[in-house]
Structure formats: structure tokens, C-alpha cells
């Protein structure tokens, strides 16, 4: 094979590729942790920027294929596809609860997006203050999260101006694009009906709607997964410099969309090699040559991430973030998530049932016809390889110390695996159904399931509203908007959340340490007033509800209670105004 392939390789491109790969390796090995952090902070934006520019260039290059694909269908079929897309969009957002879903993650990503927009830096602001009518960040850090989603949000900020809603708009747009990609992917697997079926299967997963209306990075990750999937099919069908470049850069962008998505770079590499073998030619496009250097940002981030134990957010008693010992427990909890029938979780029982049966049937078929693998269609190659990596992805999640999918904050990790389940369901139906009846039955079952399970779940949104921190922060925010003076200093530990909203916030520990200075700053007019948020345990003693004392007892502050509410059973959140500290105005009586 090498004899056939090597003569087709351009030496110049090979050289560039090798240099690029070496450069990445050297950078990872030689650059110290502190410098790595600086590289990510200052150059991170540009890695994704150039990857996106390259990706867009290849998309434009491949436009003819898209048009050909569109015009292959009659007018009726095109209307049907467009109609399905629109209806899918309506159904996706019909029960929308736009708002943060995982409090800290979402706020940090939004903050990174703001820094990317304003300073082109990968940076999270934890404290800021308005100076001369401009809110400036004074403290922060470089986050561990890959930044494709913040980058996308920053682009929207660039185009429409900074607003928090852009984070949700980005995911909503990604959700709509994802629906479109599903139609394309399903059509590739099983024709028009396959596209519609794949889309309906996804609409039956409440987790999908939850992420499309949040400000997390999972929606963009899903979108990029399907982009890589479609780009793989495109490449395997018609290998060329353009299709290979598109696939390579889609892989790079996917790696920047979630921590564990870097795994799919290997998939892209495997598919590219298979494409070379199938076409008996090594293409090695510019996109592929640049892929390795473009991943330096991610490598640098991984370097300082892995160097810091704190960034793994290990639970107490947990010694390592990954381990085979977590697999068993996490697997049983994953199964209990996938097959849950209550309204507590954002799973789809129907997709799990159809998906797991399909995986089993396809596996049997694969074993039975393993000798014919070489003759497999490009689509089958893509589904097969993607499935292997999606299984690998699930295995990694299950080996993660925080990978119990039935946990409120971990359920979203299941989204990539749902791509495998749904694609297999469509492929299985295509391969095994002899008549239209089976398709009609599945369609009817999905429509009924949507009405009796998914929509009610979306409407109740238990898995969203259970997050009491979001409700609490929104309550504090509405209080500050209506009751607090502008440019007040808030004492609360969600500094990132407040910094995003141009509110200066310090944690209780810091305020206690610099109590006298802060008091002076209020008097001298640096802040208009001091608002304290404090949280208390409630207990019942001798038949009375008792508020347990707080640890926050500054000597020089007179705390005047202005609002209180409970968002978690037996916990009380109170908002105080510091009544003895006000800016001093000479002449006031």
C-alpha cells in the first residue's frame, strides 16, 4: 500500500506537516506551565480564529456539493426538508426556559466570551469595578475549559454588541444548525425519511432542548460532532484537498469545543488515512498541515490544567479524576439515566430503547458480515468509526470521578452518546425494515412519545428548575436591579456571575480581610453602597424555626435586612444593606 501511496505525496506538504507536528510537540514539552498559561491567555483567541477562517474557506470551496445535494431533490422534497427544519425549530424552543443551566460553568464561559470579545484574551474575570464609566476587570484567571463556544459567543458580541443574551442566542443558533445537520446526516443514512426520523428522535430528548436554551458548551460540541460526521462522509465519498482540509479543521474545532472531544482528533486522523487508502492517494491538504499547530493552544491549556489539582474539582475522598474503579458504578447509573421513566431527568426512554436494540442488531450484523467490511459504503465507514469513538467517549466519561449521568450536572455528558444511539436507530431501520409499515410505526411512536413524555417533561423542566443556585442568583439580580444603587459593592461569592453584569462583587473572606479599607472606600465614594448576600442554615429547635448564625460578622458594618427567601429546603438567603456606610457628602444634614 505504501508503495502505491507514497509517490502521490507532495514532499513540501509532508515537510510542512512534520514541522507543524514537531512544533506542537516541542511546545508541549518545553514551554513551562506559567508560560503555557500566558500563551493560552494571549494567543488562544487566534488559534480558534485561524481554524474558523480555514474551516469557512473550505466550506465555501465545498459549496458546489451542497448545492448539488439540494438540487438533487425535487421542489416538494426541498419544501418538506425546509418545513421539517422549521417545525423542528418550533418544537425545540416551544418550552424554552432560556437561562443558565449549570451555574458556574455557564458564567465562566460567558466571562471568557466577554474577554475574547473585549481583549482577545482567554480570561475569566472574577472582580471588576466601574472606572470612568467603563467596567474594568481587576482580577481573574485563565480557565481550564476549551473556548470554541466562548469564541462563537464573542463573534456574536462583535457583530451585535455585548449582551448576556448572546450566550443563549449562540446556543439557540447552534441548536437550529444542529437540527439542519441532523436532517443532512439522516438523509445520508436513510434518505429523506431518515433525516426527519433522526431529527424527531433528537427532539424527543429533553436534554437537547435544555442545552439549546442554556449557555453551556455542549450544544456547540454536538454541532461540531455532526459537522465532523458529515465532513467524514463527504471526504470518504469524494476525497479531495478541500474535503480533507474541511474534515481536518472541523476536527480541530471539535477539539476546542469540549475537554474530551480532543479524542475525536484521532478519529479524524483515522478517517483521513482510510480516505487515502480508499482513493489510493495521499492528499495532505493545507488544512491538515495546519491542524497540528492550531492545536497548540489546546495542548498548552491541557498542560497547566493537568498541573493543577484544584482545577479538576475533585470530590472529597477522591484521589484521581479518572479511574477504572469508577466505571462499574457509573455504568449502572448511566443505565438508570438512559432508561429513566420519571420526569426528573432529561433522558429519552424511547431513544434509549430503540438505540440499544439497534446497536445490538448492528453489532450482530457486523460480526456476521465482517469479511465484507472492505466493500462497505462511505456512510457505513463513517457511522462505524464514529460509533467506535463515541463508545470510547462514553467509556472515558464512565471512568471519570464525576461521570454519574443521573446527576443533574453530569447528564449533559450523555449527549454525544445519544448521537450514536439515534444514528444507529435510523441505520438499523434502514437496513432491516422491509416495508414502509415499520417506518410508519416508528414515526407514530415518536410523535406519541413526544406528546406524552418529552413535551410534558420540557414543560415541567424539573431537571432545569432543580438548580436552586440559578433561581437564587436571579432573585438577587432582580433585587439589585430594583433596589440597589448603581455601582454598589456586592458581598457574594459568585464574583464571575456579577462581573459579567458589571457589578463589583467580593467574597465574604476578602471583605472580612479588608473590612476597614472597604468601609473607607464606601465613605469616599468609590462604591455607592454595600450590599451583603449571606446564606444561613435553618433548624427547628423546641418547635420553632431558628436561623443559625452566620460566619460573616464584620465589626464595622451595621447590617440592615432588606430581603430574604429560601431556595433550598432549610437554607435561607438574606440580602442586607450596610446602613452605617454611605458616601460622605459635605453639606448634607
Amino acid at each position: 500500500m505504501a508503495v502505491v501511496l507514497l509517490p502521490t505525496l507532495s514532499l513540501r506538504r509532508l515537510l510542512c506537516g512534520v514541522v507543524g507536528a514537531l512544533l506542537s510537540l516541542v511546545a508541549y514539552v518545553c514551554i513551562p506551565v506559567e508560560t503555557a498559561e500566558l500563551v493560552v491567555r494571549n494567543l488562544g483567541y487566534w488559534f480558534t480564529f485561524f481554524a474558523v477562517v480555514g474551516f469557512t474557506y473550505y466550506c465555501i470551496q465545498q459549496r458546489a456539493i451542497v448545492f448539488t445535494w439540494c438540487y438533487r431533490f425535487g421542489r416538494g422534497a426541498r419544501c418538506c426538508l425546509l418545513g421539517a427544519w422549521l417545525v423542528g425549530g418550533v418544537l425545540l424552543f416551544a418550552h424554552a426556559h432560556f437561562g443558565p443551566k449549570v451555574m458556574m460553568d455557564d458564567a465562566i464561559l460567558e466571562s471568557t466570551a466577554r474577554s475574547l470579545h473585549e481583549d482577545r484574551q482567554v480570561y475569566v474575570s472574577t472582580y471588576g469595578r466601574t472606572v470612568e464609566n467603563k467596567f474594568l476587570s481587576f482580577d481573574g484567571y485563565v480557565d481550564k475549559r476549551p473556548w470554541l463556544y466562548p469564541f462563537a459567543v464573542s463573534v456574536l458580541h462583535d457583530l451585535t454588541g455585548y449582551r448576556i443574551a448572546n450566550a443563549y442566542a449562540t446556543n439557540a443558533i447552534a441548536g437550529l444548525l444542529f437540527l439542519g445537520m441532523l436532517l443532512v446526516l439522516g438523509q445520508q443514512i436513510a434518505g429523506l425519511r431518515g433525516g426527519v426520523l433522526l431529527m424527531l428522535l433528537w427532539l424527543s430528548i429533553p436534554l437537547f432542548a435544555q442545552n439549546a436554551t442554556g449557555s453551556g458548551m455542549d450544544m456547540v460540541n454536538l454541532l461540531m460532532l455532526t459537522v465532523v460526521f458529515v465532513a467524514s462522509v463527504l471526504y470518504l465519498k469524494r476525497p479531495s484537498y478541500e474535503s480533507e482540509g474541511l474534515l481536518s479543521l472541523a476536527g480541530v474545532l471539535l477539539a476546542y469545543s469540549r475537554y474530551e472531544s480532543a479524542l475525536f482528533c484521532v478519529l479524524v486522523l483515522v478517517i483521513i488515512v482510510i480516505g487515502w487508502i480508499r482513493s489510493r492517494r495521499i492528499w495532505l491538504s493545507v488544512g491538515s498541515v495546519l491542524a497540528a499547530p492550531l492545536l497548540i493552544g489546546l495542548a498548552m491549556q491541557h498542560k497547566f490544567f493537568s498541573a493543577s489539582q484544584a482545577l479538576w474539582e475533585l470530590h472529597s475522598g477522591t484521589t484521581s479524576p479518572f479511574g477504572i474503579e469508577y466505571f462499574g458504578v457509573n455504568l449502572s447509573r448511566a443505565l438508570s439515566f438512559f432508561f429513566n421513566t420519571s420526569d426528573e431527568m432529561g433522558n429519552s426512554f424511547l431513544v434509549a430503547t430503540l438505540g440499544f436494540i439497534s446497536v445490538f442488531l448492528l453489532l450482530i450484523r457486523l460480526l456476521k458480515h465482517s469479511d465484507q467490511m472492505a466493500q462497505a459504503q462511505p456512510m457505513q465507514w463513517a457511522v462505524g468509526l464514529m460509533s467506535v469513538f463515541l463508545f470510547g467517549h462514553l467509556a472515558i466519561i464512565l471512568c471519570y470521578h464525576d461521570g454519574a449521568l443521573d446527576r443533574l450536572f453530569a447528564a449533559r455528558f450523555a449527549l454525544p452518546f445519544y448521537l450514536l444511539l439515534t444514528c444507529h436507530a435510523v441505520l438499523c431501520l434502514q437496513m432491516f425494515s422491509r416495508s414502509r409499515t415499520a417506518w410508519n410505526i416508528v414515526f407514530a411512536a415518536i410523535v406519541v412519545f413526544l406528546c406524552v413524555s418529552t413535551f410534558p417533561k420540557n414543560a415541567k423542566a424539573v431537571f432545569t428548575h432543580r438548580n436552586y443556585v440559578v433561581r437564587e442568583q436571579q432573585w438577587i439580580e432582580s433585587f439589585l436591579q430594583s433596589e440597589a444603587k448603581t455601582r454598589a459593592l456586592v458581598v457574594d461569592y459568585y464574583g464571575v456571575y456579577w462581573s459579567l453584569r458589571d457589578v463589583s462583587a467580593l467574597s465574604q473572606d476578602i471583605v472580612l480581610l479588608s473590612e476597614a479599607r472597604i468601609a473607607e472606600e464606601v465613605v469616599t465614594g468609590k462604591f455607592s453602597e454595600l450590599i451583603v448576600v449571606d446564606r444561613f442554615e435553618l433548624e427547628i429547635k423546641q418547635g420553632e424555626v431558628v436561623v443559625m448564625p452566620s460566619n460573616f460578622n464584620p465589626e464595622s458594618f451595621d447590617l440592615q435586612l432588606v430581603a430574604e427567601a429560601s431556595f433550598k429546603p432549610f437554607e435561607l438567603t438574606r440580602i442586607y444593606r450596610v446602613s452605617n456606610l454611605q458616601p460622605s457628602f459635605h453639606g448634607d444634614k
Binding site: V448, A461, H465, Y468, R471, L538, I540, A565, P569
Partner: protein, 607 residues
């Protein structure tokens, strides 16, 4: 025994079995359980079968339908404009607050829990709006089911029942046009729609949240399916007629009687085709009637079900008929006052049409050919409409000039308009006469209907309506906050998805209320209460219920409803407990440890 005989035997057996299940197998409590838990699924099955059969029967004709619509643009424009006019004639919102919030609450329960039940107690538990206690209502639930589907597809909006009625009114006018055209080919469609447009009651129903418009749609749809079946005699058409008929029976109480003309049409179809057309699907049909029977079992088991007015001993009696007919005449022929949502023109036209038709029949100018499908079906349906009208006359609350009862006459008003159209055809008016009729209709619409609808909403005397609407407005404003409402019109808040309990329930559970007030489970607890004239003749006003004895209140806002009649929204700052309630409170206060236990404690102790 042939296969057909076996099928007939099985159908008889299924019918007997379903009658037993519907009326004899369960007592009232068991019936409640069955309707609550299985009602939704049976309705879903019924609707699915209808959609399946309609797809099977008409899937090949979608193109033709669009082609016809394209050809008949003036008709489409006429119908859409008329439906649009209906929407602007009256304000949108709940009209009859005794019925419509009940239907809306049932729809909300069906949407979120797939249970046929009216929620009367709802709380926010751990941030999630949870519908807790409720009751199975006497009202048929096809309309709430459709509203729940609308919630499913477009998301929950408290206005969805009203939106649905807006959409249904377009469908209704379209089918009415088609039926009118069948009755009188050239002008019938326009005439039937124009006649009904003069009736303010139609606009009122089209902008409300009741099931009146759906009932009209279903009557006309089923009649059309009956005509189709008698024309093509296909099993699928028959099944579609039967299953759509089953939905009609679940639309309004008295619509169950339409089973009789449907059965007649099916029998005629069998006679015409000289065979008993029974499919496996037909055998299932009787079982879908079971919830209707079970609701009657529940209905009969409740003393309050018929909502007997003061002084009324029986719900139905021949003795009510004369008096109710006088009220009906006052309603139908009213010219003087604009307080009735009537159309005197339609009523007089109807009388004239009946006289002309009778004269034409007796003078043998026209003959009725009962072999024609349209005549058989329309006659059969008309008999039931007339019967239902007299049933209403025999009802203790059947005074048509009372807006609470007026809307029940909608099918009879539909019948009036179609009779007028038939008369126009029978007499074969000349074109100039028909044009004159249209001119009179338009003049009446502009001169009477529009001013009448502009001046009032016909609801000023409906008891408790202003109170309920005010509570709904306040609830809407509090929707985004974590608050608990206590009121006597609690359904108005529940249909806005705001945690609410009834005032009597709060009073009964004062200890629990105090506990959660202390625990700050809610940001605030608001009480809606009335202030009314002092019955002892004093100058001031007193609370209608002894709220000051039970709670310490801080007034938030109030509104004047009438002479010495105010409604207030007050924040409960403390709950006054009796010694016994204090003891109960102490018994509630145990300390749960884990998060799950704490959540369970909150859920269990909520009032």
C-alpha cells in the same frame, strides 16, 4: 355462521361489555381513578385512530384540496376575513369563569401529567411548579385534550385555550360555508356564514376559552363525514364517522345524543351496501365510550354536580319548559336591549324560513327525498339539535336570556342559519331577492351587531367574573416570582401556573402555612379576599370571610368591584393559631437531615 355474523356478534358483545364497564363495573371512586388515569390515553387513542383513518382516506387528496383552495380564493378570503372580524368584535379572555378555568386547568393537568383532573392545589417544590390535589370534573374532555396538545406543541401559555378557539372558528366558518353551499349551491355558503356573523354570541365564544365552538365544528364535521360515508359506503369512511362521532360525544355533555343519528347513518349505509361493514377497528369503538359513562357515574355520585340553583329541586323537569320558552323568546327576538348576545334578524328569518318551508312542503312545491345522503344526515342531526334545545328548556338553568345558559343554544342557532339557507334554495329566490337579503344582513351587522358588541361583553352580570379576572391579572404579574396565592378563585391563578391554594384549604391548614411562612419557603404569601357591605347596616365594609381573625395582613393592592364591594390582595405577615393548631405545628417540626429528607419534609408539610 359467516364471518360477518361473527363480527356483528362481537360488536354486540363489545357494546354490551362497554356499557357494563361504563355504568355498572365501577363505583364512583373507582370511576374517578379510571377516568383520571386512563381518560387521557383513551382520548389519545381515539384521536390517533381518527388521524390514521383521515390520512388513509384523504392522503391522496391533499393536492386536490390545495388546488380547490387556490381556485376559490374569494371564498378563502371571505372565511378568513369573517373569522378575523369575530376576533376583533369581543375582548379575548375567559368568559364564563365557572366553566372555562375548569377546562383550562384540566388541560394543564393533561399537558403535564396526562391525567384528566382539575388541579385545585399547586405548589412550587424545589423550584418546580407541581400540581397536587384536584378532582375529576363532570365536563367532557375533548376540548381540554386539544388545548393540552396545543400546550405540547407551542409550549404552555395561559391564552392557548383562546388561541385554539380562534383557530377553530376559522375551521368552523369554512365547514359552515361548505355545508351552506351543499344546502343551497350558489349563495348558501355566503348566506349561512353571514347569518351567523350577525350573532354576537358567536364572536363571544370565538374569543373565549369554552368548548362551544369546538362543539359546532364537531357537529358539522361529523355530519359531513356521514354524508361522505353514505356516498362512498367505504369501511374506512364509516370508521372515520364513528370515531369522529366518539370525539363529538366527548365535546359537550348533550352531544352524546348525536350517537343516534350516527348509528342511523351507519345502518343506512349497511342497508345501501347490503352488508354489515364491521372491521376490527369498529369493534374497538364501543370501548372508547367508557369514559363518558364513567363520568356520568361520577357525576351522579356527586350532589353538587348539577349545580342546582337555590329553590330548584330537580335538574330537569317538564315544568321548567313554559317559563324557559318565554325567556328563550325574549332572548331570540330581543330588539330593544343590547345586553343580550342575540340576533333578532336571524330569529325572524328562521321563523319566516320555517313557515315558507312548511308551506312549500304542504303545497307540494318541494318534496323531501330521504334517499339523498345530505338530507338524511342533516335531518337526523337537526332532530338531535331540536331535542337538545328542548332538553335545555327542561333544564332548571335553561333561561336563554341568562348568559350562563345562552351559549348552550349555539347548535340551535347553527340550525337556524342552515334552515334559512335551505328555505332560500326551496323557494328559489331570484338573484335580486338574494342580493336584498345580503344587503339586509350587512346592514343589520353594521347597525346592530357591531354596536352591540362594542358596547358590552354581555358578562357584566355574571357572578364573580370581575373578581376572577382581577385575580387572574394579579397572578399574571406575580408569575415570575416565588409566591403562594390564597384565594377563593384559585383556578384563575392555577391556570397561570402560579402556586395557589383555596382559602378554605389554607384556613384548614393554618399550622402548615405558619411553618412555611417561618421557613420562607415562599418569597411571599398573598391572600385575595373580599370586603363587602356590613350586613348589620353599618357604614363601613367588612371582610366577606373572617381573614383578620386568622392572619396578620399587610395590604398590597385593592380594587373596587361594585357598590361597597372591594377585592384586596394582602401579604400574610403572620398566621394566628389556636392552641390546638399550635400543638399541631410543634408535631410538624422534626428535623430532617439529608437533602432528600429535607425536600420530602417540605413537600409533605406544604399546606
Amino acid at each position: 355462521m359467516s364471518k360477518r355474523h361473527i363480527m356483528f356478534l362481537l360488536l354486540s358483545l363489545a357494546s354490551l361489555c362497554s356499557v357494563w364497564l361504563a355504568f355498572f363495573a365501577f363505583d364512583s371512586w373507582q370511576a374517578i381513578y379510571v377516568v383520571k388515569n386512563f381518560g387521557y390515553w383513551l382520548m389519545l387513542a381515539n384521536v390517533s385512530v381518527v388521524l390514521f383513518l383521515a390520512y388513509k382516506r384523504y392522503s391522496g387528496r391533499f393536492g386536490r384540496i390545495f388546488a380547490v383552495l387556490r381556485q376559490r380564493k374569494p371564498v378563502v378570503v371571505f372565511v378568513v376575513v369573517c373569522a378575523g372580524i369575530l376576533q376583533v368584535l369581543q375582548p379575548h379572555g375567559f368568559k364564563i369563569v365557572m366553566d372555562e378555568p375548569v377546562l383550562a386547568s384540566t388541560a394543564l393537568r393533561m399537558h403535564e401529567y396526562q391525567e384528566v383532573m382539575v388541579t385545585v392545589r399547586a405548589h412550587q417544590i424545589n423550584g418546580v411548579f407541581r400540581q397536587l390535589d384536584g378532582y375529576v370534573d363532570k365536563r367532557p374532555f375533548f376540548y381540554p385534550f386539544l388545548v393540552s396538545l396545543l400546550h405540547d406543541v407551542v409550549g404552555f401559555h395561559a391564552d392557548n385555550p383562546i388561541v385554539l378557539n380562534g383557530l377553530l372558528s376559522i375551521l368552523f366558518l369554512a365547514i359552515l360555508f361548505h355545508t351552506g353551499e351543499q344546502c343551497c349551491p350558489q349563495y348558501g355558503g355566503y348566506l349561512s356564514v353571514a347569518l351567523l356573523m350577525t350573532m354576537p354570541l358567536l364572536a363571544m365564544s370565538a374569543t373565549g376559552g369554552g368548548f362551544g365552538i369546538l362543539n359546532l365544528v364537531m357537529i358539522l364535521l361529523v355530519a359531513q363525514l356521514g354524508i361522505t360515508y353514505l356516498n362512498d359506503l367505504r369501511v374506512d369512511s364509516m370508521n372515520l364517522l364513528i370515531f369522529m362521532g366518539l370525539l363529538l360525544t366527548q365535546t359537550r355533555y348533550e352531544s352524546v345524543l348525536f350517537v343516534l343519528p350516527i348509528a342511523l347513518v351507519v345502518l343506512l349505509g349497511w342497508m345501501k351496501s347490503k352488508q354489515m361493514q364491521i372491521s376490527k377497528l369498529t369493534l374497538c369503538a364501543p370501548f372508547l365510550m367508557v369514559p363518558f359513562g364513567l363520568q356520568r357515574v361520577i357525576f351522579d355520585g356527586s350532589a353538587l354536580a348539577y349545580e342546582l340553583r337555590e329553590g330548584a329541586a330537580k335538574a330537569f323537569s317538564f315544568a321548567y319548559i313554559p317559563d324557559n320558552l318565554v325567556h328563550a323568546a325574549e332572548f331570540f327576538f330581543n330588539w330593544k336591549t343590547v345586553e343580550y348576545a342575540n340576533s333578532a334578524l336571524l330569529s325572524w328569518c328562521f321563523i319566516a324560513a320555517v313557515m315558507l318551508l312548511l308551506h312549500a312542503i304542504f303545497s307540494r312545491r318541494i318534496t323531501i327525498d330521504v334517499k339523498q345522503p345530505i338530507i338524511v344526515v342533516l335531518l337526523g342531526f337537526s332532530v338531535i339539535v331540536i331535542f337538545n334545545f328542548f332538553l335545555l328548556m327542561a333544564y332548571h338553568w335553561g333561561q336563554l336570556n341568562d348568559i350562563m345558559a345562552t351559549r348552550i343554544a349555539l347548535p340551535f342557532i347553527l340550525f337556524q342559519s342552515l334552515v334559512c339557507v335551505v328555505a332560500v334554495r326551496a323557494i328559489a329566490f331570484r338573484l335580486i331577492a338574494v342580493k336584498a337579503i345580503f344587503a339586509v344582513l350587512v346592514t343589520f351587522f353594521i347597525g346592530f351587531t357591531v354596536p352591540s358588541t362594542a358596547k358590552n361583553d354581555y358578562l357584566q352580570w355574571v357572578p364573580g367574573r370581575h373578581e376572577a379576572i382581577w385575580v387572574q391579572q394579579q397572578s399574571k404579574e406575580l408569575k415570575e416570582r416565588n409566591v403562594l396565592l390564597i384565594s377563593n378563585t384559585h383556578l384563575m391563578s392555577i391556570v397561570e401556573r402560579v402556586p395557589t391554594i383555596a382559602q378554605f384549604w389554607a384556613k384548614k391548614n393554618k399550622a402548615k402555612l405558619k411553618l412555611h411562612l417561618d421557613m420562607h419557603t415562599y418569597e411571599a404569601v398573598y391572600l385575595f379576599h373580599m370586603m363587602v357591605a356590613d350586613p348589620r347596616g353599618g357604614e363601613g365594609m367588612l371582610p366577606a370571610t373572617p381573614v383578620y381573625r386568622d392572619y396578620d395582613l399587610e395590604l398590597i393592592t385593592e380594587s373596587k368591584l361594585g357598590e361597597k364591594r372591594f377585592i384586596r390582595m394582602s401579604r400574610i405577615t403572620d398566621v394566628r393559631l389556636s392552641a390546638q393548631e399550635g400543638e399541631l405545628l410543634k408535631s410538624l417540626k422534626r428535623l430532617p437531615e439529608t437533602d432528600l429528607e429535607r425536600l420530602a419534609f417540605v413537600a409533605e408539610t406544604l399546606p
